[in-house]
Amino acid sequence: MLVTVVGSYPRVPHEGREFLLRRATEEHQSGRISDAELRQVQDEVVREVLREQAEVGVELATDGGVRWDDPQTAFAGRLAGVRLDGLVRYFDNNVYFRQPVVEGPLEWRGPVLVEDFIFARRESPVAVKAVLVGPFTLACLSQDLFYGDLRELTLAYARALHSEVVELERAGAGVIQVDEPSLLRSPEQLPLVREALEVVFGGVSATTACCTFFGDASRLGPDLFELPVRFIGLDLVSGPRGWELLEAVPPEKGVALGLVDARNTRLEREEEVAEAIERAVGVIGEERVWVNPSAGLEFLPREKAREKLALLARAAARVRGRGG
């Protein structure tokens, strides 16, 4: 069993501390500080976020995406063929992203996230995974003015992601995850997502994962486990019926269980979370279970994000203490 996170983490400082990153970002936007100076401030936030995750008991962390405006544009915005347009709401959250507009053939022009990954890995007290938005979700969240076909666009994003994933693996990424929340809105597209992830992860030997969130994965049925990744993420807060899928996890696959609500401040009861973990471990064994919040933690204030992770880690420790 591993205690992990889905991806994002609040870059907001703890209450009462100065918000240096916000000020530095403003100063950078108005040209008063250089790229390198902004990066130094971001580096410090990444270190702090990595340390905090390790302190509360996370065993597989991320850099929290704290350098990004949003996860979509962090990658898609750096590809040839993409222009960034106006703000669009991110699923059913009061959070926004710049919509990528695909105007020409998508082309990967060189590593996008590798430098950040290397930094995070070097600075983190615990293992770090690389997290990218998956090809299908990128396609669904983009406006397509070029391909005119969802499959073509998805596969074009998949090829670009594959180039990035190869570089990440070369840079030492032992775990690489893609997020596909859009799959839960279009379950009929599972075959396309499967085909696209085969492209993304073809020839990759790192541990691979695909997280779904903001919805109910049970509608996809056991076919969900045909996705060509080692771990599949289920948001059991938004979609508690996802528990039904647990019996169907094939022996070569694992699940990343979203057990604490990443979108509400109300704290779960530790005992209930521990019972949920025990239940999952009872069905498929400790080796094949990751536990994490239901989605990225940036929807929560910093204090609550930390508390939720600490609670999750304590619940996991209780289950381990019982011998699984």
Binding site: P10, R11, V12, E15, F19, R22, T25, E26, Q29, D69, D70, G86, L87, V88, R89, F91, D92, N94, V95, Y96, F97, R98, N264, T265, R266, E298, F299, L300, P301, R302, E303, K304
Partner: protein, 332 residues
């Protein structure tokens, strides 16, 4: 003679640099609430006079005294505490409220501001409220076991405020529900809550409006026509008026608030493009079922940009009115 194509506003208008600085100074405890309020009253007056001067038919107070549209009500209602900072995009953050007890309205929230604004003009001033579904959806909930219970308590609080506005003489009351377009499956709950607010208003002859934005309309339309309001106000300009095409398949049955100004762009529209947008709507609806306004609140623009955009809006509508022989008349 035909009438219609009334010009109006979605709600917020930009705050001046001076007012923004005063708000920060107040937040840091450097000036008193009264000092800030003096500036807010002056800013409200300036915007009312500007709208009257350029010829906006149905005016707003411009919300110079509000910050976030949800946090403002949550901070005035009981049952909420102020939450920590959440990032909405890029380097922008807001304090998301947390419901920690039963929510309700202890005293009027916007009433005095509406009365003040209406005292400054002979034109009707819209009452501006945030809807119960959106307040619930954009807050954390640590108290209620179900979202429904949370939303319905808020509906009663918003209803009290709305009825106070109507009793004071407001004939147009807008209850914004921008969150409803994101979860079509919860539209029935949003509609039920909105009915709690609008039922007494309709009995009092009030024209009710809801504004919806940033959503996937193709998923929420035509179901959104079930919302119990007189008018639905929609952003059109920033999607190239695509939404109008949905009306060809399923006729739009309400009065339409037609957004013709992109509030996220600094570029000032030309009167010609705004006029073209109005004419597209006129292919589908008669002029007396159309109100023309910006896509959304203009608070993210500078005061100069907002004034320039609003002048264009009025100019374009005047052109169409002259061309079609629609006389300027008070909105109904």
């Amino acid at each position: 003679m035909a009438e219609g194509l009334w010009t109006t506003q979605v709600g917020s208008l930009p705050k001046s640099e001076e007012l923004l600085r005063a708000r920060s100074a107040w937040a840091r405890g450097e000036i008193s609430r009264d000092e800030l309020k003096t500036l807010e009253l002056q800013a409200t007056r300036d915007w009312i006079l500007f709208q009257e001067e350029i010829g906006i038919d149905l005016v707003v107070d411009g919300e110079q005294y509000r910050g976030d549209m949800v946090a403002y009500f949550a901070e005035e209602f009981s049952g909420f505490v102020r939450g920590g900072l959440i990032r909405s995009y890029g380097n922008r953050y807001y304090r998301k409220p947390i419901a920690v007890g039963p929510v309700g309205r202890d005293r009027p929230v916007t009433l005095e501001w509406w009365k003040y604004a209406q005292s400054l003009t002979s034109r009707p001033v819209k009452g501006m409220l945030t809807g119960p579904y959106t307040i619930a959806d954009w807050s954390f909930n640590e108290y209620y076991d179900t979202k429904e219970a949370f939303v319905m308590d808020l509906a009663r609080a918003v209803r009290e405020e709305a009825v106070d506005l109507a009793k004071a003489g407001a004939r147009f009351i807008q209850i914004d529900e921008p969150a409803v377009s994101t979860r079509p499956e919860e539209l029935p709950l949003a509609a039920r809550a909105l009915a709690v607010v609008t039922e007494p208003l309709h009995e009092m002859g009030v024209h009710t409006i809801t504004h919806i934005c940033y959503g996937e309309f193709h998923r929420a339309y035509p179901a959104m026509l079930e919302l119990p309001v007189t008018q639905i106000d929609l952003e059109m300009a920033n999607s190239g008026y695509d939404l109008l095409e949905l009306f060809r398949e399923h006729p739009f049955t309400k009065v339409l608030g037609l957004g013709v100004i992109d509030v996220h762009s600094r570029r000032v529209e030309s009167p010609e493009e705004v006029e073209a947008g109005v004419r597209r709507a006129l292919e589908l609806l008669p002029p007396d079922r159309i109100y023309v306004d910006p896509d959304c609140g203009l608070k993210t623009r500078t005061p100069e940009e907002a004034r320039a955009k609003l002048r264009v809006l009025v100019e374009a509508v005047d052109r169409v009115r002259r061309d079609l022989g629609i006389k300027p008349s008070p909105p109904r």
